[in-house]
C-alpha cells in the first residue's frame, strides 16, 4: 500500500527531518506510525501525499510513485494532515463542498449527498450549518475526518486524529477508524499516544529523530518488551533479598513494591517464588507479572523516554 526506499528529507536550513526511511505498509492493515513530536512523522506524511518533495529516496503509494502520480493516487486516499484546516467563514457543510470540488474526479451530481453522509458519519449532522469558526477543536477535527471520508477510499492517512478531543470523542474516532478498516480501507495512523496504537492498530512502525527504529505487527513489537515480576509489599528489603536468592535479576526496589526480570526460571517458578516470600515472612500484598506494553518496547528500543522531542 505504501512503500518507501531510503526516503530522506533535508530542509533548507540543513536540518535532517527524515533520514533513509524504509517503510512498508501492508494492504488491509491498520498501521500505527509512532514517534515523539518532532521525530519526522508529519514530514514523512507530507512526502507521501506529494506536498513536499523528498531530498532523496522514493515513495510509492497504491503502487504508484509519489509525488509524480498525485493526480491518480490521491483521489483514492483520504487524509487528515497535522490537524484540521477550515474556512472559518463557511459552514461545515460548505467546507466539505469546497474540498470535494477540489477533487476533479468527484461527481458534482452526488456531492450534496456524499457531504451529508460524511457529516452524519462523524456526528456533525446537527452542526453542519454552523460557521466553522464557531466549531470547537473537536468538531473541527471531526470535520477534517469527514472530508477524508467524502469518497470510499483505499487508503486513509490520519495524522494525530484524536488530538484535541475529549475521551468520549477519542473513543468515537477510534470506533470510526475500526469501522473504516473493517470495510477494507487500509489506515495509516500517526500518533504519539502509545495506547491509541495498541488499541486500534494491527501493525506499527516507530520513528525517532527522523529514523525508523522498528516496524512489524503490534503483537511482535509488544512481545519485545519482557514481562516484569511485581511484588507489592511493605517489606521491600526482605523481599528483594528473597527474590535475588531465587535468581530474579534487574531488581528495582520502589515504594512498597519490588520489581524485577523473571529471566531464566520462567513462569513455572512463580508459585515457588511466592511461597518462598511468604515463608520468609514477607507480607505479600500483591504478586504477579505485568505484561510488556508498547511503551516498554519503545523505551527498550530507543533508550529514551517517549515524551522526548527529537
Amino acid at each position: 500500500m505504501i512503500r518507501t526506499r531510503g526516503l530522506t528529507k533535508r530542509f533548507r536550513g540543513g536540518q535532517l527531518a527524515v533520514d533513509g526511511l524504509d517503510l512498508s505498509v501492508p494492504r488491509g492493515s491498520v498501521f500505527g506510525f509512532l514517534g515523539p513530536n518532532g521525530s519526522g512523522k508529519t514530514t514523512t506524511i507530507r512526502m507521501l501525499m506529494g506536498l513536499i518533495a523528498p531530498t532523496s529516496g522514493t515513495a510509492t503509494v497504491l503502487g504508484e510513485s509519489m509525488p509524480q502520480s498525485v493526480a491518480t493516487v490521491l483521489p483514492r486516499v483520504g487524509a487528515l494532515i497535522e490537524g484540521p484546516a477550515l474556512y472559518g467563514f463557511l459552514s461545515g457543510r460548505d467546507n466539505l463542498v469546497r474540498f470535494d470540488a477540489a477533487d476533479p474526479t468527484a461527481d458534482p451530481r452526488t456531492r450534496r449527498q456524499r457531504v451529508e453522509t460524511a457529516l452524519e458519519r462523524v456526528g456533525l449532522g446537527a452542526a453542519a450549518g454552523k460557521k466553522a469558526r464557531a466549531y470547537s477543536l473537536g468538531m473541527k477535527q471531526r470535520l477534517g475526518l469527514a472530508s477524508a471520508l467524502l469518497q470510499p477510499r483505499e487508503l486513509l492517512v490520519l495524522d494525530e486524529p484524536t488530538n484535541g478531543l475529549d475521551p468520549q470523542g477519542m473513543r468515537e474516532i477510534r470506533a470510526l477508524v475500526r469501522e473504516v478498516a473493517a470495510e477494507g480501507t487500509t489506515v495509516f495512523l500517526s500518533s504519539h499516544l502509545l495506547d491509541e496504537i495498541e488499541q486500534v492498530c494491527t501493525h506499527a512502525a516507530v520513528m525517532s529523530r527522523g529514523r525508523l527504529v522498528v516496524q512489524g505487527t503490534v503483537a511482535e513489537l509488544a512481545a519485545r518488551a519482557q514481562g516484569r515480576l511485581v511484588v507489592r509489599t511493605p517489606d521491600v528489603a526482605r523481599a528483594a533479598e528473597v527474590l535475588a536468592a531465587h535468581r530474579v535479576t534487574g531488581l528495582v526496589p520502589g515504594e512498597e513494591r519490588v520489581d524485577g526480570e523473571l529471566g531464566g526460571p520462567g513462569d513455572e517458578a512463580l508459585p515457588e517464588l511466592c511461597a518462598a516470600l511468604v515463608a520468609a515472612g514477607v507480607r505479600v500484598h500483591g504478586f504477579g507479572l505485568e505484561r510488556g506494553t508498547l511503551e516498554d518496547a519503545f523505551v527498550a528500543l530507543t533508550g529514551e523516554g517517549f515524551d522526548v522531542a527529537g
Partner: protein
Amino acid sequence: MSRAETSHAAASRAETSRAEATVLRTGRRPQTAAGFLALFRNELHLTFRRLRTKVLLGILAVLPVLIGVVVKLNTDSPHEGGGGPSFIAQTTQNGLFLVFTALAVALPVFLPMTVGVVAGDSVAGEAATGTLRYLLVAPAGRTRLLAAKFTAGLVFCLAATAAVAVAALATGAALFPLGEVTLLSGDTIGLADALLRAVLVAGVVAVSLAGLVAIGLFVSTLTGSGIAAMAATVGLVITVQILDAFPQLDAIRPFLFTHYWLSFSDLLREPMYWDGVLKDLGLQAAYVAVFGSAAWARFTSRDISA
C-alpha cells in the same frame, strides 16, 4: 451437481460480485469535465461569499457617490473650481460622464488596491490557514488551483469595475441630467451609443487590471502570509505609479503595467483612438504571461509545509 458444489458456486459468485463492488467503489475514477470545472465555480463562490470582498466592492461603489455629491455641491456654489480632470467639468452637463470620471479616479488607486488584496491573498491566505494542503491532497492539482485562482481574480476585476461603473451611472442619473453626450473630440452621440461606450470602457478598465492579478498571484506564491502578500502587491502598484511619474525614466515607463491605464479616455473620441488601448492590452497580456509563468513555476515546485 451436489449441494456442496452449488453452495460453493454461489459463495464464489457472491465473492466475485463483492469484489466487483469493491472495485467499483474504490477503484480509479475518471476525471470529468464537470468535476474539473467545479473548482472554478467553487473558487468564485468562495471569493464573493467573503465579507472582505463585499466590503471592498461596497467601498468601490461608495466612491462615485462621493464624487457625484462633491461635484454637485461645487457647481451649486458660486465660485468655480479651476482645473481638475477634464471629465469632471462635463459631468455637470451629463450624468453619464460620472462613469468615466469615477473610473478615472478609481483606476490609479482604489481599483488596484482592491485587486491587490484579492490576488495577493489568494494562495498565501490559504497557505496561512492550512486549507491549501487539504486542497492539494484532494487533489486539486497545483496548475488547476492556480488557474482557478487567476480566473476568480479576473472575475473580481470585472465585478470591481462594474461596482464603480454602475454606482456612478446611478448617481449620475440621480444628480445630473442625462442626454446626448458630447465626446472629447467635440462630436455628439446619442445616449444609447454612449452607454455602449461606457460598457466598453469599463471592460477595458477591467482587463487592464489583468497584469496586476498575475503579479499578485505570483507574490502570493512566494510567501505563507496573506497580509504580507497583500501589502507587497499594493505597495508594488504604488511604487510603479510613482516611477511612472518620473520623466527621467522614459526608457522604462512604457513597460510599466500602469503606464497605459488611463488611455481608455481615447475611446471617448470619434472615431475611437485605439492605439493606447491596444498597447495597454498587449502589455497586460505580456505581464500575465510572464508573471503567470513565474507563479506556476514557483507554485508547482514548492514544498507545502504550512
